[in-house]
Every structure is written in structure tokens, then in C-alpha cells.
Symmetry: D2
Subunit: 340 residues, 4 copies
Amino acid sequence: MGEQHTFMPTEKDYGYTFGGKMPLAHLRSGDVLSTYTEDCFGGAVKTVDDLPSQVCTMPYLNPVTGPFFIDDAEPGDTLAVHFLSIVPARTIGVSSTFLHFGALTSTSRTASLQPPLEERVWLYDIDVKAGVVRYRARNSDYTAELPLDPMHGTVGVAPAGFEARSSITCDSYGGNMDTPELRAGTTLYLGVNVHGAMLGLGDGHARQGQGEASGVAVEVAMHTTIAVEVIKGLPTLWPRIESDTAIMSIGCARPLEDAFRISQHDLVGWTGELTGLDDLDAYQLVAQAGTAPVGNVVDPNYTMLAALPKRLLHGVAAYGGAHERLRATPHALSIGTGAP
Amino acid sequence: MGEQHTFMPTEKDYGYTFGGKMPLAHLRSGDVLSTYTEDCFGGAVKTVDDLPSQVCTMPYLNPVTGPFFIDDAEPGDTLAVHFLSIVPARTIGVSSTFLHFGALTSTSRTASLQPPLEERVWLYDIDVKAGVVRYRARNSDYTAELPLDPMHGTVGVAPAGFEARSSITCDSYGGNMDTPELRAGTTLYLGVNVHGAMLGLGDGHARQGQGEASGVAVEVAMHTTIAVEVIKGLPTLWPRIESDTAIMSIGCARPLEDAFRISQHDLVGWTGELTGLDDLDAYQLVAQAGTAPVGNVVDPNYTMLAALPKRLLHGVAAYGGAHERLRATPHALSIGTGAP
Amino acid sequence: MGEQHTFMPTEKDYGYTFGGKMPLAHLRSGDVLSTYTEDCFGGAVKTVDDLPSQVCTMPYLNPVTGPFFIDDAEPGDTLAVHFLSIVPARTIGVSSTFLHFGALTSTSRTASLQPPLEERVWLYDIDVKAGVVRYRARNSDYTAELPLDPMHGTVGVAPAGFEARSSITCDSYGGNMDTPELRAGTTLYLGVNVHGAMLGLGDGHARQGQGEASGVAVEVAMHTTIAVEVIKGLPTLWPRIESDTAIMSIGCARPLEDAFRISQHDLVGWTGELTGLDDLDAYQLVAQAGTAPVGNVVDPNYTMLAALPKRLLHGVAAYGGAHERLRATPHALSIGTGAP
Amino acid sequence: MGEQHTFMPTEKDYGYTFGGKMPLAHLRSGDVLSTYTEDCFGGAVKTVDDLPSQVCTMPYLNPVTGPFFIDDAEPGDTLAVHFLSIVPARTIGVSSTFLHFGALTSTSRTASLQPPLEERVWLYDIDVKAGVVRYRARNSDYTAELPLDPMHGTVGVAPAGFEARSSITCDSYGGNMDTPELRAGTTLYLGVNVHGAMLGLGDGHARQGQGEASGVAVEVAMHTTIAVEVIKGLPTLWPRIESDTAIMSIGCARPLEDAFRISQHDLVGWTGELTGLDDLDAYQLVAQAGTAPVGNVVDPNYTMLAALPKRLLHGVAAYGGAHERLRATPHALSIGTGAP
């Protein structure tokens, strides 16, 4: 098995793009990495008075830890990234409205002459042991406990075609997918576009709803442990997730129906490969048996997932059983002890 | 409590629009209706050789049983329709590709110069007792059992503004919403636009995936029993569903992000009314705690739902407890004995 | 040649849908009709203090004069409607913002939590002899003369499939297309869906910009004279316009790219029929030689036109020369003498 | 006045992104540059048998000449690029269908299970003296002369936020806008995002239709002469074009209505600044007097322009008269002598 690495980033290690940044460290296929990610505000929002428009500076939003150079990863390969653990590094999560950003406001693209919504910050108590996130209304006494469900909004590799893309967006190389399905216990498959893949991750969410409608989840720094594997000679066009019970294809695009089409098209092809069904038979199966969890409907590209229960694969393993292999990786559960 | 009605439609009773058709029967608030709906093909697809383009005739697709005139329902009221039971009336369900219709083909609107996909029919065995629908591939030996999950794709009232709309589409009056959430045990709330509401229903699905990607679900005639209640003086702008565990708002529109926006906007407002949260506090709660099940991404208007767990309402009942009241309606489970 | 008809509607003659309304009068192929249309506000906005939300009542917006039953028009035929003259019936045109309607505001579909834009009315002086419309700013002394370019925003026939559609929207049957290309001297081709076609028209604009971004043009009642011809046995799928110099196909849909696709697809097919080019050769010609004037980007369906210079048809006449024949119709230029 | 520069690129000078590439040469504000751009195929398509999928290699499509470092251009400034001349460098222009690319085919994003359209190449004779481009059908004898209207599809500066973006797409920094409005005699205004602006240009079209529906224009290498000016301290959010008669704002986005919204929003603001009209008065003026020429509806981001006649500015000059100043730049009309 591989080596155990620990990488704690300093302020200057964070990146704001996928592509265009030199690697922080090298990993080999089979290695385990424990690292830390800052929240999407770079940790600058700490109280309800820290309005993002005042305490954050563009483009220093959504810092990504990385990239990590994965030895032996070449264009045409697939990088499997298994999330062994994702643990909040703080006991307070933050959320906010963000000027002209979100699903229920006009934006810089869905432009209108209306003024933006009020900028407001919410703080959430995070209780890792109880598995709970506590919502507190700002303008009333209402409170509610929501299930803690830690995930990474942003995971990706360098894009193809010499591109460097903002960590705010997502596309075929991954990036800011903002799907609640990217939690511990799942394996993310990303096509490798450049030598070394250049893996980065960030944007931890203590939880988010499907769609991330307000534009901002329950943001929190994370202590995260991943295991990586290079699957040689097998390309992956769009990001895919495998859990213990489902395979999922991810589409990133606008309008949202194109994200849906991409994800369904990819899942139909993947299902066909694994089951031997022809295109139309696979299309029919996915149409009746699939689910379509929404990721985000707020970022520059929206995210839709297409999911199929693995039991319908009748025992055939995706990517040669990479998920099962990686989830068995021995590792010390890295519950963090607070921010570095 | 109300009366028990049974209405078995004959061929001439089916409608193909919401609005513009005279009522078949009258119901009172509190009444229970057992009726029958034909499948979306009008029952014409019976074997894999019955291609829809050959056995069906436009516009005689997606027949609706109704409308039913609901006494005392006036514009500005809400009609609550609770589904007491939805039971397949045949042991074979049918699905198909449909020329230039579906998510993974160009269509009459998303027009291209490409020829349509092959038209192909699938038959599904429906085993009501086992709760199973059996998929059989057409071009291989692959088969799979899927959970039976009967629902109505199409339920609606007459639109406002003197409109009559095809039963193929959906909008604020309901119609062909094609969401798998519309199953037995749920209550659908529809705003009343005309005197008598003019309720109709059809398009039974033994099951469908989220998104209904191929354009056609596992279609089957249904024996269905509903209970209706008129909620006076309370308007409803967009269709809403209440289950035992969640409240859901439905948006129907293109592009898909507008369906999402409508549903989220409606749920934020509804949540605010029930919890006393102001707009932004409700927006924040829905964004972190909500789910967004996709309905269809194939019909003239797409469907998105926005759902919130009812436990977050801290005991406040929607629509004065209509769902709890209606689900307690005594009724004989009307398992049909086959088509009339 | 045909008969000359004059029809002056009374208040009760206006309709608010295409489909679902009984005819006001009969016309024969070749006849000429002089009639009057009210403005989209039903004439209720007369001063800058007449805010539409206060003086108008839903759904009594966008009144349509008609329908007119066209003898001998059957499903599968095409109705050619040539606009001999369109003359403003008042010397003041009105425009306004309209709550949550327009391209630069959130709307009932592109829903947001923002309040609507201010509701404001503008009055325009219309000088028919000078061919000028005068814009006057509300909050400054700025004024400007714009070219008078009278047109009808709304012209259509009854839809197929037993539908009745609000006069606010457009689709394959025409309706509220809101394209500035529908001016005097052009011929509109509409596919006939029902016996008698059921032609209606309204929504006169003294002028509008491409896109009608604010949601409301320079609205004014019109005295309009048309000549109609039934083209037997030739179906038309989407509305088409012919001017002296161009043929144009109209697509009505959301998102706007689907309106574009529909119009381009239709024009490619039409061009192929008239020139003998195969699909790809026609696609190539249209792509390099065509223009794509925007209609509206505000109504329930958006409008795009695809246009090709007629000189590229090398002398072949569309629809057997209907446009040239109709534009030669002798008629008295019916400059109105004010509203009835 | 400035210096005259000539830059003839060699093969290794071409770039395939905006951002992320070192400059080829330096220019000062006021300088004139005569240069050469290759066609979008890198010159590899020379006969109808040179199918792009066989003779081109991803990502080496749409080569850009540049970037040029503009001395004194800083973030927050605007770079004005005036096109003094754009002259085809070859007598043959090429076009083609391109697999799963274009408006009337499914694509990698608007994904379908349909096979791609046939890949076909067209050659156009370009006669610069006659001002004509000759279309020749591939499957019939049809030919037609179209007006020569040379333009650059692709002009841009480095994006903000450390991004490097493929030359296939466009956004707020310009890029592959593919609008026929970018012809000789116009001035393009681009906001400067990085020190030196990093201007690049390419993708010459002998002409294109509005929308570029087939995905490929009449592609040809160009000899082009530009004059540049840095407008200090005046930021520009989205690309703008000024001609002798109109000001135009460009929006790049999907769906197409967002490109429309961006362009209209920007033009409303620009018009307000120049005329003193408040937002709603400017919105009203643009809505009635504006045109909305479509750019492309095929690239990763679509392009819409919003245009207003300059006479409505009542003599106020945009950007301090930069357009008038630059268009008066003395220069030798650089008609090329063929490819280097």
C-alpha cells in the first residue's frame, strides 16, 4: 500500500484556479493524504458583522489546497480520489447572502436593474459528536438542528487545453461542483488532462441543501483525508462519483438542462459499458431507475448528477473495483484539532 | 364526512386539455372519488411492435379523466387533492422512445438536423403484491427488478385567463408535472382559477426515474382513489405537495433553472408563512435544509420540486392541517380488477 | 379579387386568447379587411399617472380583435395574411415598466426575492405624417425623435390540440410574437390548425426595439388593413414572414437558444425546398448569409427570426408567389379617424 | 502619434488561450500594429477532403496572434482597439460542419444519443476587389455571391482572477465573440484585467451570418491593422464596440437570454452615463430605439449585442472621443501579399 502524507497549507499555498499553479507536493497512486482546507471566505467571516463584500477581496475567494502532483498520472488516465474522512476544523460554520449571487436574486449574468438583496451572515454551531449543525435565524428566535453532512464543494484537476479556471466554477475537470454527494465514503473519478493531474480541493461544507439556493452553504474549514489511485489508460470525460450503493455522473453547464443532459448522457454510456446494454436499453433503464440529485444552481456552471443503484450492475465493478479497494485503505481518522 | 363516488370513464369521457372541457361529474369538499385513468398512449401500445408513431394519433395523447366540478371551489381558493390509493390496472406497463421527444435527443424545440433516435418499445411486468416492476432489455438478456412506485404524472385544474392547455404540458395550474413525488399518501394543493376548479387526472406511472429522461415512464392505466377538500379564501400560486414528512413546492418552466427558481421562491415564501421567518432567514433555511427533487426534463415545461422536512415547521400545520385530515379519510382500498 | 370588409370591434368583441372563442365575422380567401385594434392596455393607460397595475385587470390585457373565420381554411393549409396598412389610431403612444415583467427584472418565472422595479409610464407623441415618434424622459429634459415603424405584436390563429392560449404568449400558431418585422408590406404565413383558421390580431406598436427589453413597446391602437389568402394543402409548422427582400422563419420558445434553433431549422428547411439544396448545403448557406433579428425576450415564449435575402432564391417564389400577389391588392389606404 | 509596428507570427507564436501566455511584443498607447492571423483551423483545411476531425488536433484550434503587452495598461483601465483594416490573406475561405458543434446539432453539452451530422467542407472564392464571397453548394450546382465583410471572431485580453481561457470561448474579457459587428472601422473597448492587458486576436471571417448557426464562418487568414489606446482610470465590465453610427454592448453567456440581459444591462448603464438619463429612462429608451444583433449561438458562451444609434447621445462622445480619434489614425492600408 501507499504512503501516508500530511500537508498543512500556509497562507501562500492556497490557489484560486485549477490549472496554472505549480504543485505543492507529490503523491503516488495508492498514497493517503491528510490535509486542511480553508473555508470559501478564506476564514475572513467570523461574526455576523463580517459582511463578505467588506472582509473579502476578489479574486481571493474559495481558496483551494493544492495542487498535488500525482506521479504517473498522464492525460488519458483517470484519477480516483476517495474521501476517507472530512471533518470540520471549527465549531462554527458560516453562511451568508452574497451580493448579486444566488438562485433567488438577479446576478451579474442574469442581470437586472434591481438592487441586490440585503447582505446577511448566519453562524451555525457545529457539533461533530452529535452529528448536528444548528441554524439560528437572524430576525427571530427560530432555531433548528440539521444533520451534519460534511463534504467538499470544490475538488478538481487541471483543465485541458492550457486553461486555468477560477475555483468558483466547475466543468469537465471538476472544480466547484458543490454537490452534497461528495461526502466521506465516496470516490470521485476525474479524467487526467495534464501530466501529474494537479489535484486540488477546498470549499468544505458542514452541510448544504440540494441546489445551494442562497449561493453559500454552511462553510467551514476541514481536516480531510483522501486516498488516490491512478487508473491507467482509462479516460473519464466528466466527473463521476461512486458510493457504496450508487454510481453517479456529474454534468456542469448552463442552462441547467444541459447539466442534466450531460450527466444523463454520461450515465447512460457508463451503464452500457458495465452491463452490456446498448444505448437505448441503457437509456431506458436509467430513465426508470435513476435519480437526479441537484448540485448547485448558483455557480457559473450549474451541477446535476445522474445516479443509478449499483445493484443494477449485477455485480460488475466500475473502474476495476477502485472504489472498494480505496475504501478499504487503512488510515487514522484524522479529526482535526482546530485550524493550523 | 363526504360521499363515496365511483366514476368509470368511457372512451368519450377522456379529455386532452386542462380547461375548455365540460365536467363529467360533481364532487363536494370532503368527498372521495374512485376512478380509472388510461395510460398516456390511450392503451394503444400493447406489444413491442406497437410503435407510438403508428398506433397513436396526435393530439389524442395523454388522456385525462375529468374534469370533475368541485362544488363551492371559487377562484382564490385552494383545492386539496389527497391520493388515498393508486393501483395499476394492468399487469404490463409500457415505455418507449418517442420520436424527437426526451432529454437525450433533439426535439421540435431543441431542433437539430439529426434524424430521430430509433423508436423502441419496452414492456414491464408489474407485480403489485411483490411491489416490483420488471425491466427487460430489448437487445440483450439483461433484466432487473425495480421498486413499484405508482404515481400520477398528470393532475390539474383549469388554468386562469380562459386558457385551455394540452395535457402534455404543465404550469401553475398543475397538469403534466411528471414528478415521482405524486404518489399515494400525498396531498396536492392547486390554486382554483375557475368556478368548480375542474379537476382532472391521468398519466399513471408504475414508476419513473427523476427527470423522466427518455420522455416516457412505465406507463399504465390506474385505479385511483382520491379525497378532495376546498380550502376557502387561501390562494395557491404554484402546485404544492405535502407528504407525511415534507412540504414541497413545484415549479414548471423552461429553462430548468426557472423551474428551480419558481419552486425555491415558493417554498421560501411558504416556509416563511409557517415559521414566521422573514424572507432572508427562510431563504437561508431552505438553502441548507432543502432537497430539490427533479420531476421531468422532457415536457414542454420542465418540473422541479423544492422540499423541506416538516419537522422544521416545529408543529405548525400547512393549510390548517388538510393533509392530516385527508389522509385519515376512511376508504376501501380500490384495487382494480382490470380495465373497464 | 375578393371583397372589402370593414369591422369595427366593440368592447365585447375583444378576445384574450387564441382558440376557444367564437368568430366575429367571416372572410374568404382573397378578401380585404379593414379593422381596428385596441392597445395592449385596453386603452386604460392615458396619462403618466395611469399605472398599469392600477388601471388594468388581469386577464384583460392585450385584447385581440377577432377571431375571423376564414372560409375554406382547413387543417393542413396555410393562411397568408398580408398587411396592407398599419396606421396609429391615436396621436399618443404609451409605454411603461410592468411589475416583475421585462428583460432587466426578475419575473414570476425568473423569480427572485427582490422587490419589483418602479412602475413608470412614458407617453410618446406620434406624428404619422412626419413618420416620427417622440420619446420624452420622465426624470430629465432629454427628448429624442425615433422613426415611426408601426407593427402588430400579436397576430395568430387558433392552436392545434383543442388549446386556447393567452394572447400574452406565442407559439407555433403565432400570437404575441412581438417582432418589429411584422410591419405593413409584409406577409405572415400561419399554419391552419382548425376549420376556419380563426385569425385574430392586436397589440399595435408605433415602434419597438429588438428584444422589447422593457417588456412594453410604444403601444397604440391601430387602423389596419389586411388581405388574406388560403394556400391549400401546404402546411406551415412555424410562423413565417415574407417581405419584398427577405424570407423569415419565426421560433417561439424558452430558452432563447431554442427559439433560435427553431427559426434556423425552419429556415434551413424552407431554403432547401426553394433552392433544391440538401439539408447541409442549406444549413451552410443560411449560416453565412442569414440574419437573426430578435423579436421579444420578455414574453412567456421568446421570439427569434431567421432571415435570408430573397435574391438567394434565384427567382423561385415562396408559397407560389402569394406575397407578390397579395401586395398588389388594390385598397384604399385606411388612415383612421381616431378611435371608434 | 504613435509608432507603426509590424508583427508576422511564426508557427510557435500562436496561442490557444487568453491569459497564461507570455507577450510576443510591446505596444504603446497610440501605436499602430499590422499583423497576420491564421484561420481557426490553423490553415489545415485546404480542400473539401480536409475534414477538420482528421487534419486538426485538439486543442490546437483557433490560434490567436498575441498576446501583445500594452505599456501603461493597468487593471481598471480600458483598452481601445480600433480596426483600421482587415483584409483576407488568401483567395479561398473555408467552412465546414464540425462534429457535435453548431446550433442545429446536439453537442457535448446539449448532449444526445444521436450520431453527429455529416462532416462536410465548403470552399469559398474570395474576391477582395469585387467585395464578394462566392458560395458553392457541395451537392448541387447552386452558387451565390455574398458580400465580403471581413471581421475578427476572436479578440481579447487576459481574464481577471489568474484565469487562462480557451480561445474557443468568450466572456467579459472578450475572446471568441464571433460577432459580425467586429469589422474594420469599429473600435472595441475591453476592460484591462492584468498589467499590460495582453491583447490577442485571430479567427478572421470573410463573412458570417448572425448566429454563426453552423458553428463555422467563412474562415480565412487575415492581414489586419489596428490602432490601440489606453484609456486610464475608466473600467469597462463587458466588451463594447463603437462604430461611426452606434454604440454596442456585448454579453457573453449561456443561456442566450443571459447574454441578452448582460448586453442590455450594460447598454442601459452606458446610455445613462452619456445622456444623464436615470436607469429607468435609459431602459425605456434602449427598449424602444435599440437593436440586438446576435453574435454566435454555438460557442461555449453565446454572444448578444445591444446597440443604440449614436445620434441619440446628442453629441456626447463615448470614452472621451476615442473612436473618432483612433479612426483618424494615418496608416497604409495593409493589403497582404499572401500568407507568410
